[in-house]
């Protein structure tokens, strides 16, 4: 290591506020970007799944349990 101790590493030879501010902002933005991308994908998949399920139910080709299927299926037939 270039520094003699970890406290010297943190002190950055008196330039600590500048160095750590620059690295901190960078780390926060990179991490935030990754977290956002993961949440975005998970949310889209959940929405899509819900939509596909709802539409297939409306179309009357649900594969749910028997009582639900008959009641909902009956509902769409009447309408």
């Amino acid at each position: 290591m270039f520094f003699d101790s970890f406290s010297e590493l943190f002190a950055m030879g008196g330039h600590a506020p500048y160095v750590w501010a620059a690295w901190g902002v960078t780390a926060a933005l990179l991490l935030g970007t990754v977290i956002h991308a993961r949440a975005e994908r998970r949310q889209l998949l959940r929405q899509l799944k819900r939509r596909v399920r709802r539409e297939s139910r409306l179309a009357g080709r649900s594969v749910g349990t028997q009582p639900i299927q008959t009641s909902r299926g009956g509902g769409t037939n009447e309408a």
Partner: protein, 246 residues
Amino acid sequence: MWALINKLRSPKWFYGISARLQPWFWTAALILIAIGTVWGLAFAPADYQQGNSFRIIYVHVPAAFLAQSIFVSMAISAVVFMVWKIKICDMAAAMMAPLGAAMTFIALFSGAVWGMPTWGTWWMWDARLTSMLILLFLYLGVIALRGAFTSRDSASRAASVLAMVGVINIPIIKYSVDWWYTLHQPATFTITGRAAMPLEMWLPLLIMVLGFYSFFIALTLTRTRSEILRREANKRWVRELAEEAP
């Protein structure tokens, strides 16, 4: 080239190939940035004039490189989208803009906190700094344009035109340090020649730059896949995919 362009017409093909590519780029980004961070912060020698504030270079330069490269990628995607009507390029371009804005912000911010101990000022209205600020506004303009239309086609076309016109700013940024008198030093880092810097300072910077580029590719692949789910939600293969998803 033509084979690739024809394949890109199929979002389904892209969705499959990007699934196989993205773990490699995410892994490369993680490893390279981790090594570059430890090396740059703790092991690289301090600059004999600037002391340890010089370590800001390891985030400043990769971010500034990426800020410009992302805009060029966006402009190229815009051309391919406009000329060959390839939707996937428009999706990728839309996903690149926020990362480009973030990188431009990092370059400006790290430059400001580097400028204080080095030049004695946070900000100067000189050519390099101002043209980078314009780049940030161009990114924000592209993002705003995409949100400003109710029709997706109009939004895509408007954002593509701004990306294609705005790319003229990139050579201005690059040559600003040669054309005008500025505080900002000329390029100290090039891939080809490394005379301006000793090897033990240059190597961690190279690793960091490569890490940032891997991050950009990985994130663009991941987010373009999300954008496909968003825009192609009515396609049968996307619905089948949603049913299989856990």
